[in-house]
Each structure stands twice: as C-alpha cells, then as structure tokens.
Point group: C2
Chain length 238, copies 2
C-alpha cells in the first residue's frame, strides 16, 4: 500500500522532539485516554474490510467531531493524506504502537479468586500480547491450588519468580494496603492493573485503578433522572 511505504514509523512528533532535543513534548492525557476507543473502532472497521476512512466518517461513527479526530492523531504524527483520508490498517498500526499493544509484556496475577478466574477465562490478555506467567496469593490456603493452567504460588516467592522479567501485576484482590506498590516495584514490576477497592498511587510504579463501583454508581445516578422524573418515587417505592 502506497501510504505505508511513504510513512516512516518514526514520523512521530514525540520521537522527533526527542531526536531534536526539543524533548519535553508529551501528549495530553485527554488525548491519550481516547486512544483505546480509536483502537476498538479501527479494529471493527478492519474486521468489516473497510480500508479507508475520512475524519468525518470516523467522527460520525464515534459520535465526536472531525476536528477532534484530526487533532488527536496529529498529536502523534501525520497519519493521513490530504484528499484521501486515513488508511485504516496503517492508522490501526499506529494506534496499536502508541498503546504498546503486542509488545509481549509479561504479567502476573495476584489473587486466586473469582476475578482471577474470570480474567483468565477471557482473551483480554492474549489479544493484547500479554503473557500471564503466574498466579500468586497472599493467602497460604490458596497456595498449591489450581487456577486454570496455573498452580497458585505464595507471594513470598514473587520477588525470586519475577527476577526483573515481569512488567505488569494484576491485582485481583478485594482490598490491599498501600505498601503493595513498594513491594511490587521492588520486584521490578512497572505497572499495576488494580481491581481492588483501594485506590493506589505511587512514584515507583504506574497504577491503573479500575474502581468498578464508580461506573456502577454513575449508572445509578443516570437512571435516577429517568425514574424520578415526575413523582419522586422509584420502582421499589424508595
């Protein structure tokens, strides 16, 4: 495809800034947070054999403005072509690269309960190139049990097990203490995908706090505006 031939994978504003020592160029977090959504929509387009799309059509599909589509991608590089639009496959590759999908990160899961089983039953890790290397538990009763293909190990063994080769820890526990950040950072782990109810922040390790209850409560608020319109009582009489 002509487009790909012309595009250089290093035609990336951040990398360019780095090379030219204008350095400090970073993409704002509002832009970054939209990238996974682009990723999903572009994947769907590819699955439907749509090879080319304009900012206008993509915007309509996603319920945003064409300007935003163009601005968003332009914070990373010149991914389109005037008069043509965007090559979907190329754009998808760029977004995948931005999100580091298929970097083949290694991960461990900490916790041996139902969340762990649920995550292992999906392809959420596989399709992003993440390899789960082990399942660990703080609870000695779990040690030795099976979780899908994994024999649960004690967190006492985690540091030796990691040996600097694990990038991500999935925290699939109901509650954790703040020290878990230090502990995992000391194991050489760089990021925590946190399903516990405790919000984590650390200078030593990146944390993504899933906080499932938050979206549930937002939904409770949103439906309230329907249910209470008028009579001030909901379906349960409250």
């Amino acid at each position: 495809m002509a487009l790909e031939g012309k595009k250089n994978i290093f035609d990336d504003k951040r990398l360019r800034a780095k090379r030219e020592n204008t350095s400090s160029y970073t993409v704002s977090s509002s832009v970054m947070r939209r990238m996974p959504r682009y990723f999903r929509f572009l994947r769907d387009l590819l699955n439907n054999d749509i090879l080319r799309i304009s900012s206008g059509d993509l915007a309509k599909l996603m319920g945003i403005t064409p300007s935003q589509v163009r601005q968003d991608f332009n914070s990373f590089g010149d991914f389109g072509q005037q008069g043509y639009g965007y090559n979907v496959k190329f754009l998808y590759t760029q977004v995948s690269r931005i999100l580091c999908v298929n970097k083949k990160y290694s991960a461990v899961i900490i916790g041996a309960g139902d969340i762990t089983k649920a995550l292992l039953a999906t392809n959420i890790f596989d399709i992003r190139g993440i390899r789960i290397k082990g399942v660990f538990s703080y609870d000695k009763c779990d040690v030795g049990a099976k979780c899908k293909d994994f024999t649960v190990l004690s967190t006492d063994e985690l540091q030796d097990f990691c040996n600097g080769n694990i990038s991500i820890a999935v925290l699939a526990l109901p509650e954790v203490n703040d020290d878990v950040c230090d502990f995992l950072a000391d194991c050489g782990i760089n990021g925590i995908w946190n399903f516990s109810t405790s919000e984590l922040h650390s200078d030593k390790i990146k944390c993504q706090n899933v906080m499932l209850g938050d979206t549930l409560m937002l939904l409770m608020n949103e439906i309230n505006e329907i249910e209470f319109s008028g009579n001030g009582e909901n379906k349960d009489g409250n």
Copy 2:
C-alpha cells in the same frame, strides 16, 4: 449535630432550579464523574472517625485543589460552613444521595459465566443497596445451572420476569449485539452496566460501558515510557 439540623436536604441547586422553574440546571459530567471518588474518600474518613474536614485537607488527601473541592460541592448545594469546613457524615450523605446509593434498585445479571460468579462473590451490589433478582443466559446450555444462589433462567423469560420492576441489567457476556439495548429497554430496564467488549449507546436506556481493555492498554502505554527510556527494548527484547 447542629449542621445537619440547619441543612435542608432540598437545599440542592438542581432541585431549587426545578422548583423555581429556572429548570434546565444540570451538573457537568466532569463534576459528576468525580463524585464516586469523593464518595470513596469520605467513606474512608468516616471509617477512620474523622468527622470534620476542610476543603484544603480533603484536597491534599485526594491530590486535587481546594478550589476544585469547593466548586464541585457547590454545584449541588451549600454543603459546608464558613470557618468550620465540612461535616464528613453530612457530606457523605449528600454524595450518596447524588449518586443514588441505597436507593434499593433491583437488577438482573445477563450471562452465567465467570464474570457473573466474580461479581456475585463481591459485595459490590450489596453495599450500594442493589438487589440482584435473577441471573439469565442467552445460552440454553446454561439454563437450569446454578450461579451462587441463583438458578439460571433463559433470556426468553426476561420480559415476564421483569414486569417493569427491574432497573439495572448487568451485561456479563463477552460480546453483544446493539439490539440488546432495545430488548432490555422493552423489558422496562433503565440502565445497562456493560462488561462486554461491545460499546453500547442508546436513546432508550442508559449505558455504562466498562471496557476493561481500555485501562489495560493505557497501563501498557504508561509503563512503556519507563521500560523504553534509553535503549528502545523492553524486558522481553521487543
């Protein structure tokens, strides 16, 4: 407590606007999305027997500015007191009310797999006053099986089962079709908490799309900036 005595639960800018027919007052979604986080921090304060807090201290705790704390709460009403600060219990009650926690909504779960089991094993519904009334499946093979205390029913029976008494449907399925929104709306359900990989939007029903993969990819991007600093290779040599 003096504060509570003086405060009127209807001293709420939205309700005031409604009464005075200035009507259209709505809180911006940026403010609304922060409410669950306030809810969690205020609950923690209460659990630690802290009964009073200033916007400055709460801001420090949460890593935001005192101005934001005051502005956020002021979009709903006058929840504090000059010279004193905020009464934690009262503020928590207001935030709970805003988020409709403990409204005793009824819900059903659709899907009888590991996500359903994982959710039923937590107290995520209980502590928010949500009552799970049934578990349903599109897959006839699941029907009759047990999911915790529930016997899985067919989605064919959903409409009769709901009979207008169910507010929330938890979609615990890998993938769904867009029509699911119409189907659930026709059952009289008002909101979908969506764990599938398909993003849902509808005029007929509120949707909260969890999109677990999104935060995982953001984490992959964030740790990349650590791992690739310098040599351009990650721990797996990619």
